[in-house]
Amino acid sequence: MRRFPFLPAFIFLLLALLLSLGIGSVFLSPAELLNSLTGRGSDLANSILWKIRLPRTVLIALTGMALGGSGAAYQGLFRNPLADPFLIGIASGAGLGAVLAMSVQWPYTFWGLMAIPLSAFFAALLTVAVVYFLARVGQTTPVTNLILAGVAVSAFATSLMSFLMLQSDGELRRAMSWLMGGSIQLGWTFTLAMLPYLLIGLGVLVFSGHALNLLQFGDEQAQQLGLDVVRVKRIILISASLATAAAVAFSGIIGFIGLVVPHLSRLWFGADYKRLLPLSILSGATLLLVSDVIARVVLAPQELPVGIVTALAGAPFFLWVLRRSKTQGLW
């Protein structure tokens, strides 16, 4: 499996996609699913498959890809096993943007409904920009500074958001449910809206594997090996943040995937970023899809926010894999 990792990764992803399309509150047998896929099923089954499950599956898969990929990129960039895509303020920035937007009564129009995710998206990017410029020392941005500035700005944004939620007079519930995993049911609109940023972000990251490998030696070493460290770090940061901000803005804050997926991939497939990044992207989608299925099924007909399931189910799974892994110090 170490030598040809992409095949099992694709197989798992395919299985997860099928699982996500096949499972839901309404039981549809494989025959019915097949009929609906070819457009021949009953109206109800067609509606459920095409208008509910398929858009949701695609959105979740894309979100998982974004989180997995940028998680791996951040861990490589910061050379820190605890790094995750929300380290430098994306989650808190997005949350603040979303809650700010929720305090306004937008008209019920296309743009009115896009107001919240767009606000979250731009607020997330703005937060990253603020953190980046706060962390600059002359021409470089030391990684430690980024982390510290990120923690401080995140804390500030989070408490500002909490304060706004208190003032919200009834929107509290809406804010809370967004924070636990946003509204992922607005079908193709949201998917299409996040797609460009995701493609750009992840596209760049997939080709950053070599640069990340070099960065593992340290900034100075990498510079001496011929890497334009400042420029590369900025590009990776921007791409990872772009992909994450898009994912968070349209799917809400889903924790744990960005942290754990790179580690799982590393345990299974090794630490070469040229492979780790694409594999994290695929595994991120798989893991999030499985979590989403669990979220739909465990308390049916109630749906749990997927952000809760990722940590509740993901953490024990990760610990199990960790315990079983015989190699020490793989990090």
């Binding site: 459920i48 509910i52 937008w106 509204s183 607005l186 109630q302 749906e303």
Partner: protein, 305 residues
């Protein structure tokens, strides 16, 4: 010849009654609380409600048998519990379950988000979003509207009239009251140093005033906020109403809170448990809540029957 006249007269009379009692054929068009145009082919026969308050209104106007789905929290009246639940309305709705029930109308309240409305609209389901009534007048309008949507206009009108009459009775009784007791309404007292209460502008606040009291939470700036226990002690309310009685807060436990035993209300035994659903669900039971409050605050004004 007489019988022929009679026959013709009867025929026309029949025609007349048929015309007046038949439901108007064709669309009923409304504009809902989100400004959306909602069209129905006739009164809705398969209704799903996404809010407990709307469930109460539906059953109150006699449309209970037309409700085919409800949210998890709809628990009043008891018949509502027999209706299939579509799960919680927190976050994303279980659209599959809703679709499977084949509703011709879904009613949403302010507790539901525009995103939830859109997700149902995208599936071709007719949704009507109702804003929460902020006054009793708006409550009567909402009752009448639900009656129109479900084909129970007469019952809805009657209900609105009776609710209005009861509210007027309370307002009249309170009209000449000289002493207005101060009230502390506790929504959540998990942290006794700063319990949650209702500030100005909520229905509960309005109802306390209408029942002849003064809400000490009126000094706060948010509608739902935590009030400092020092403020409670300073204002020393005449009555403490426990809106969180349903969550296990008892009259005795109030006396055990540090500093609370010195309050006049505690010493005089004016700590009263209260069903918060009578104040927080914008439906017909708000009037029950109002009458409850009158009984608590001005028992002398309640006619003994």
């Amino acid at each position: 010849m007489l019988s022929k006249t009679i026959k013709i007269t009867l025929f026309f009379l029949l025609l007349l009654t048929a015309c007046t009692s038949a439901l108007p054929a064709g669309d009923l068009t409304f504009t809902d609380g989100l400004g959306r145009e909602v069209k129905l082919d006739g009164p809705a026969q398969r209704v799903i409600t996404l809010a407990p308050s709307l469930t109460e209104v539906l059953f109150a106007v006699g449309a209970g048998s037309q409700v085919v789905g409800r949210d998890d929290f709809s628990d009043y009246p008891a018949e509502a519990l027999n209706v299939a639940s579509i799960g919680s309305t927190f976050g994303d709705l279980n659209t599959e379950a809703i679709l499977a029930l084949e509703p011709d109308l879904v009613l949403a309240a302010e507790i539901n988000t525009p995103e939830q409305v859109k997700s149902l609209e995208d599936l071709g389901i007719t949704v009507y979003y109702l804003n929460n009534p902020l006054t009793f007048a708006e409550l009567y309008d909402q009752v009448r509207l639900v009656g129109q949507l479900t084909g129970h206009e007469e019952e809805a009108d009657e209900l609105a009239e009776s609710l209005s009459a009861r509210v007027d009775a309370v307002t009249e009784a309170v009209g000449n009251v000289t002493e207005r007791p101060t009230v502390f309404y506790e929504i959540d007292g998990t942290d006794p140093a700063k319990p949650w209460t209702t500030g100005p502008g909520t229905f509960m606040d309005t109802m306390i005033t209408m029942a002849g009291g003064v809400n000490i939470g009126g000094v706060l700036s948010d509608q739902y906020a935590q009030i400092s226990v020092e403020e409670i002690v300073a204002q020393n309310p005449d009555f403490i109403i426990l809106g969180d009685a349903a969550f296990g807060v008892t009259v005795e436990s109030i006396g055990e809170r540090a500093g609370w035993s010195d309050l006049t209300a505690v010493q005089d035994g004016h700590v009263i448990p209260f069903d918060d659903n009578l104040a927080s669900r914008p439906g017909p039971r708000l009037v029950d809540g109002l009458e409850e409050l009158l009984k608590i605050l001005h028992p002398e004004l309640v006619p003994t029957q």
